[in-house]
């Protein structure tokens, strides 16, 4: 797959072009109609069974059509094709505004981890059901006292025979209420020489006694994430990934998958992407001070700022494939900066999209006269889940400054 990553995009082969055409046609045919109820924009916003069923069904359909897990090995449920094929399909799905793949933790965190670091049995057991959304996964890294400081996780897993007994408190656990499994970071050895060395990584089942899942209400007023309490919950030792004490290394590998390495990804769009094109649609309906918003020079200037910045996002990804155009000494920049730049961009863009609405920007979703059903008001609040979750923007700055620029830790 390595050669695929460096191949310049312009040489898109006839095969890829044909695939692009095919998938576009398939999507046109198969994207489900508006179900008549509010749909989430990202996987962090699924708030009821109705939404979950709808999205699960869609993911299964995409998988069964051969458009998900395309580059994953056939023996575990994938289709064994080149990553470039999956990338083309993913792009087309985003372009077509298809509903997103709901099993995000499975596809982007658990799946790659199991494929790369799991045992043969684990691969056989879990991967296919991740792709088909038969089993939903959640992620158990954060704890109430350790939002950014994952290495300090205090949830305890004590070995007893063939089992581990888990006690602790995980939080901000997206989709835990629908999940059958959790990738769990827990402390097996509180006396390890350093805090990192005491951690172990598990593929924990959620349907065992002693696991309590509570909903957390988001600032939007909606639900979508949870806290998970473990009280003497027993999980089999066979769900451990790697050895005891290797959990930190596994977790770091997981985070690297999440931060945008395309290699090995199951593919699929992870959110309904809101772009400046949609802001423009909104702006065309909006009035500021009695005039169409798009006549306001302030709106026009800022709109173009966002359009320029937005273009840089896919262009950075393109440039990442052209070895010679990577900035010397900072070759990993386009990859490492993706999460920070994208999430902060969306925070500012969604705020702008509300701002330009003039007086009507004070309305919220649910109001029949809110422009575009308040999609931007909701996106604006939800945007913080990305600037905070998965490592806050402040932590991202540290990571990039230290790893990429070689600046010392503060």
């Amino acid at each position: 797959m390595a050669d695929e990553r460096t191949a310049p995009e312009q040489e898109e082969s006839p095969e890829l072009r044909e695939l692009r055409r095919q998938v576009a046609a398939w999507l046109k045919e198969n994207i489900p109609a508006d179900p008549g109820f509010k749909l989430p924009q990202t996987f962090m916003e699924v708030e009821n069974e109705q939404q979950m069923d709808f999205l699960r069904g869609w993911q299964r359909k995409v998988y069964e059509a051969g458009y998900l897990g395309m580059a994953w090995p056939e023996e575990y449920g994938g289709y064994g094709r080149p990553q470039s094929h999956q990338d083309v399909v993913t792009e087309e799905m985003a372009r077509a505004q298809a509903p997103f793949m709901v099993n995000v933790i499975g596809l982007f965190w658990a799946g790659p981890t199991i494929l790369k670091l799991g045992s043969e049995e684990q691969r056989k057991r879990y991967v296919k059901n991740i792709l088909s959304a038969e089993e939903i996964w959640c992620q158990g890294f954060s704890e109430p006292e350790n939002g950014s400081d994952l290495g300090n996780a205090q949830t305890r897993a004590r070995r007893e025979g063939d089992e581990y007994v888990v006690n602790g408190h995980k939080i901000w656990t997206t989709q835990a209420e629908y999940a059958s499994h959790m990738i769990l970071l827990a402390r097996t050895n509180p006396d390890a020489p350093n805090k990192y060395a005491g951690l172990t990584f598990f593929l924990a089942p959620m349907d065992v006694p002693g696991v309590e899942v509570n909903r957390i209400r988001k600032m939007t007023g909606e639900y979508g994430f949870n806290e998970v309490l473990f009280r003497d919950a027993r999980i089999p030792a066979s769900v451990r990934v790697g050895e005891e004490g290797e959990g930190w290394g596994v977790a770091m590998a997981v985070l690297m998958f999440e931060r945008g390495a395309s290699e090995g990804q199951a593919g699929g769009n992870t959110m309904t992407v809101l772009t400046t094109r949609h802001v423009l649609d909104t702006a065309r309906k909006a009035y500021r001070d009695g005039r169409p918003a798009l006549e306001d020079p302030y709106v026009r200037d800022r709109m173009v700022q966002f359009m320029i910045e937005e273009r840089a996002i896919p262009l950075n990804r393109r440039r990442a494939h052209v070895q010679k155009l990577l900035t010397p000494g900072r070759e990993l920049a386009p990859m490492l900066m993706g999460k920070l730049m994208g999430s902060e961009y969306m925070r500012r863009l969604s705020d702008f999209a509300v701002n330009l609405q003039g007086g009507n920007g004070a309305l919220y979703m649910g109001d029949p006269d809110a422009i575009d059903n308040g999609v931007w008001q909701r996106a604006q609040m939800n945007s913080y889940s990305a600037t905070i979750g998965g490592g806050t923007s402040e932590i991202q700055h540290n990571i990039i400054g230290e790893r990429l620029l070689g600046l010392p830790k503060g």
């Binding site: 306001d296 609405q357 609040m381 905070i388």
Partner: protein, 374 residues
């Protein structure tokens, strides 16, 4: 204006009102209390409203002859800033603005009928100003009134009528014979025409008002100077919203400051990290600037000359951005907790959003200021 002429006056009355408001609201308008009324249709506590009336707040800027205290806009600021700080939700803003419109354009009869009842807290009043096109200036109302027999027949739609669902009296801004006019409607006349809106700020209430076919008697018309009265009321709204925003910015800043002083990550209190400390300092400075611009605007508000509108617009423009910034960073610096409904930061965030979109955002006021000053 040269620097030397920038003055800030602050009277004993202002200080006393502010002290009272802070201690009253600190104990009454707690987060718990504010949240309790989120699910309430009226969105405010009638007992608290009564207490506010007893404190004299509803008559602050009404003349003594109408049972008011005979003070002015500056004294309203003294209570509005703490209201913002403690997220007070009530029809105070609506009623105060409507009271001033009545005072300035109403007939003697209308004033005597309503102002004492407003001052006593008995009547809630509001203005119907905004329209679907979101105009933020007191001119060019698309809503129309036409003479019809002895009275008027109205058409058009009003939006974002503050506390429209709570009001006893709605003053409706329309175009009549080509110029702005205000028509007073007791809410009984508006039955079936008011729809509660869903606002981003869940502590606020507003309504959409359908005017098509509404008929009002000749006596509904406020007797004169709707143009001047409206101009005054809009400026006053800028000033009082700036006060609320200043208070809100302070409130959310204090909330954040407490959090970053206690929350630890990586073994250190997070407020010690420059990535948090320095933005906190920037926000603090913006709040200081807001308060200076606000109290200057309050000082010159009831004075002569064009400075009043300029200063109020400046205060609203700057306060809007300062409050937004403070609320935005409050969510971020609270980390995952900040993203929950349970965290009080969202209350301020939503208030900041609502206030930005009410009576003109920063870019809007800067555009008008440019026309006034450049």
């Amino acid at each position: 204006m040269s620097e030397a002429s920038f003055n800030i006056r602050y009277s004993d009355e202002q200080a006393m009102l502010a002290d009272t408001a802070v201690s009253f609201l600190r104990s009454k308008s707690t987060f718990e209390h504010v949240r309790r009324y989120i699910g309430d249709a009226a969105g405010y506590d009638p007992d608290l409203w009564k207490e506010m009336a007893d404190l004299g707040w509803l008559g602050i800027a009404l003349p003594e002859e109408h049972a008011g205290a005979g003070l002015g806009a500056a004294e309203l600021v003294s209570v509005c800033e703490p209201m913002g700080q403690y997220l007070m939700a009530s029809p105070f803003l609506a009623t105060t603005l409507a009271g001033q419109a009545l005072l300035r354009a109403g007939s003697e009869e209308q004033k005597q009928a309503w102002l004492p009842r407003i001052a006593s807290g008995e009547a809630i009043a509001t203005l119907a100003l905004s329209e679907p096109d979101g105009s933020w200036e007191p001119e060019g109302f698309a809503a129309k009134a036409e003479t019809r027999g002895e009275g008027y027949r109205l058409s058009g739609t009003k939006t974002l009528v503050l506390d429209g669902q709570n009001a006893d009296l709605v003053l409706i801004a329309v175009t009549l014979d080509g110029v702005p006019a205000l028509l007073a409607a007791e809410t009984e006349r508006l039955a079936g025409r008011l729809r509660s809106e869903i606002l981003v700020d869940e502590t606020r209430r507003s309504a959409r008002l359908d005017l098509d076919g509404l008929e009002l008697p000749a006596s509904a018309r406020l007797e004169d100077h709707a143009t001047d009265a409206l101009r005054y009321v809009y400026s006053l709204a800028w000033l009082l919203l700036a006060a609320e925003q200043a208070g809100g910015a302070n409130g959310v800043f204090d909330l954040t400051l407490d959090y970053v002083k206690t929350r630890k990550q990586f073994g250190k209190v997070i407020g010690g990290y420059q990535a948090i400390k320095h933005p906190m300092v920037d926000i603090m400075m913006e709040i200081e600037n807001t308060r200076s611009l606000l109290y200057y605007a309050a000082t010159v508000f009831d004075g002569p000359g064009g400075e009043s509108g300029i200063a109020a617009r400046m205060a609203k423009a700057y306060a809007t951005d300062a409050f937004r910034h403070a609320a935005d960073r409050s969510i971020q610096f609270h980390g995952a907790m900040g993203f929950t409904y349970e965290c009080h930061a969202q209350l301020f965030f939503r208030r900041a959003q609502w206030a930005r979109h009410s009576f003109g955002d920063a870019a809007h006021h800067r555009r008008h200021l440019a026309d006034l000053m450049l």
